[in-house]
Subunit: 314 residues, 3 copies
């Protein structure tokens, strides 16, 4: 899409004649010369100054920080404009090649596999599951019945996805107008499940807004777990039932999260950290350890605290 077209859609005046062809939307950090991004949070000013994006949607006062070759699309509501634009970058899946399915794959009844998808050797897809466009499933993976895999999902080897899962749905992201209405951010990224991942029944893993939601090798996820867009789950993590991970949570390897635990978004958890059941993680955890409670504190302190609290009435 020509930059001019974009400017027209967003009702932004373009102060350049550069006729850039924009192929995708992306983050400040990852956008390339033929991609557009947005700037909405001063925290990321350093990323703005070094972005390689072809164009950035931003407020006037930050234009001065832009790299020389990057075009500014100036607006007082960059987040809202970004959201409005996502709709136009949803992929067109209409001209994809027919799916390729290995002869050794076992495909159940009423399974639907859409164009562009690739099903490798010895994959099992059970009855009534739906594999949408451009999905790849590698050797030996098993999809139980009634699973939905959204477009562009990449599934590694020997992955097990139990019944009722929804992998790759849109993240829960909206920009808000001054009238309190919500403008949908169409999610343009994907979900990547590495080898040996297992996911319990009726869980949901959202695709990235831009970029990917990544579940690394050997991570195990229980039933009814929510994993938001752009999360990164480290190797061999254990995520127990009914855990909820808000968008862009990054868990190091072998992190354990007990049942009904949760994270707020945009934070990191150090490798080998254990979060007790119902622990609520609201800040980055730099030091590995065992934590509990909401707000989260070291587990030993939590035990001591509970005793103290109970002492108030005993």
């Amino acid at each position: 899409m020509k930059l001019k077209e974009i400017a027209d859609i967003l009702e932004i005046e373009l102060n350049t004649d550069k006729d850039v062809d924009i192929k995708a939307m992306n983050t400040l950090l990852e956008a390339k010369e033929d991609e557009i991004t947005f700037f909405n949070n001063k925290k990321y000013l350093d990323k703005l100054q070094t972005t390689k994006a072809g164009a950035v949607i931003l407020q006037e006062e930050f234009v001065k920080y832009l790299p020389q070759n990057t075009v500014a699309l100036i607006t007082s509501h960059p987040y809202l404009k970004m959201a409005q634009l996502t709709k136009y970058f949803v992929k067109d899946y209409t001209n994809l090649p027919k799916p390729t399915i290995s002869d050794s794959a076992k495909i159940g009844k009423n399974v639907v596999i859409h164009n562009g998808s690739k099903i490798a050797d010895n994959v099992v897809i059970m009855d009534n599951s739906v594999i949408m466009h451009n999905v790849t499933i590698q050797e030996g993976s098993i999809i139980y019945p009634n699973v939905t895999i959204y477009p562009d999902t990449q599934i590694g080897k020997n992955v097990i996805i139990h019944a009722g899962n929804v992998i790759g749905g849109d993240g829960f992201g909206y920009a808000h107008t001054s009238q309190g209405e919500h403008v949908k951010i169409y999610h343009l990224g994907a979900v990547v499940l590495e080898d040996d991942v297992e996911i319990g029944a009726n869980s949901s893993i959202d695709r990235g807004a831009f970029g990917k939601t990544l579940i690394k090798k050997g991570a195990k996820i229980d039933n009814l777990v929510q994993i938001g867009h752009n999360c990164e789950i480290g190797e061999y993590c254990i995520i127990v039932s009914q855990v909820g991970l808000a968008g862009s949570s990054k868990l190091g390897r072998n992190v354990v999260m007990g049942g009904q635990a949760a994270t707020a978004g945009h934070l990191e958890i150090a490798p080998f950290t254990q979060i007790a059941a119902r622990g609520g993680v609201t800040k980055t955890i730099k030091e590995s350890g065992v934590y509990a409670g909401f707000p989260l504190i070291p587990h030993k302190l939590w035990l001591k605290l509970q005793a103290k609290i109970l002492g108030l009435v005993k």
Copy 2:
């Protein structure tokens, strides 16, 4: 069904010869002359006195409050009798006309659409979804794969329902016998989703017991959310993942509920109120504001309180 028949089913002696034909069950407030209701809670005595119902199941001591033209069905267990009766008022879907489906609608593979349903222009229903009886879906709405829509659900324009959703299941309602057994309340109401509503993956919205569960225009609901029977979600509400709303919760417009927050049933939340993640709402909130905790308190106070609590061990 004749009133006499109803009395026989419930083993209640009828002390009138009025041969009323009862067409439906309904609430005290909404029942009409040809409908039957029940009275089980003194809190609603004013509603009993002004009900327009043709008949009321109630205890003997309250008969004196009944309007003149309303027949009393006297029992010491009105709630249980009401529950037993619901079974007989479940709609008969056997003689409905074939579904009407617009030519411009895109219907996926293995989609089942039952009689009485109407699918409008440009609706998309993806593979393996099931649309039960008497469902209406208006222009431009999108149903992702493996969704189940129960009978009588009404879906507005440009609604998006992600994969794995269950819309319109029976509410979790039972009357209890003296032996501790549970008598199912068959849910006779419906779910209404207004225009521009979006619902994330694997959520569930129960139909009304009588009347409807209503999700108003532009409300956005995340993954794995539970919405009980007869809830009312105001315009542009934001309901984050794993929230649970118990039956008959009424949220004003632009209410935000953070992840894993919840309500007890039969309460109201003022417009523009924000409930922090995990907030537990147990009483009506009259004053708009930001609240947190369980029990729920103003968010600022909650922050102060957490600091104070932590002080107990530091």
Copy 3:
């Protein structure tokens, strides 16, 4: 499988010539002469001493407690070896007879019923549901659309299973290697739902590791509930939405668990106990009563405590 074969798979040296034929894996308590079990927890030493198992995987120091006719498979990692072995005892469903389906059963569209399954009179299985191998469904039960029933599930009479349920998935069980990798415990047990059970939308009930997960007569389970492997839910229990029961929780009859409540695993709850919404049960409850909070305390005390806590900032 010959004991020798098992020893080879597990790389354990067998110090007997007994050529026992092992037919299944089971628990210390329930294993028979032709079954193998494991010992990993000193708490169960009495069960080791009285086991009827043909063979036990255990550490060397406990061999002296074994009954005379039981063969020892000695390893320093019995839990890990047990996990590795489960894979070899997954049932072979390839030579089962065709399913038997009563003429009076109503089977919807795109329903898949696998070999070995038996569908009784007047059962209703709605569109797009999948009944895997060896499932029995008794008279009058109703399965709503898009449900998945895993192999070996036994469903009683007049059971109602709402849309999107997953019954019988593998429990969330892994043994861990010294490198932090997880070895899957293939779940070899089943789920048993007794008569009159009802299960709300999008819930999940895991099958037993060995033995069964049991939901007793008349128990009612709401939407989005998680029930772990080997749980036992007593007659007429009420399990409200978003409750999570960890593995091997045993609830007596008429236990009520409020919304979002949870249990840790391997504990019991006395009959007629009520757990308030969000109550977190971490220990066995011997005395019936009303409890709340996390950690759990008597409900009255919890109310008093909350008032006291709030007093800290007022």
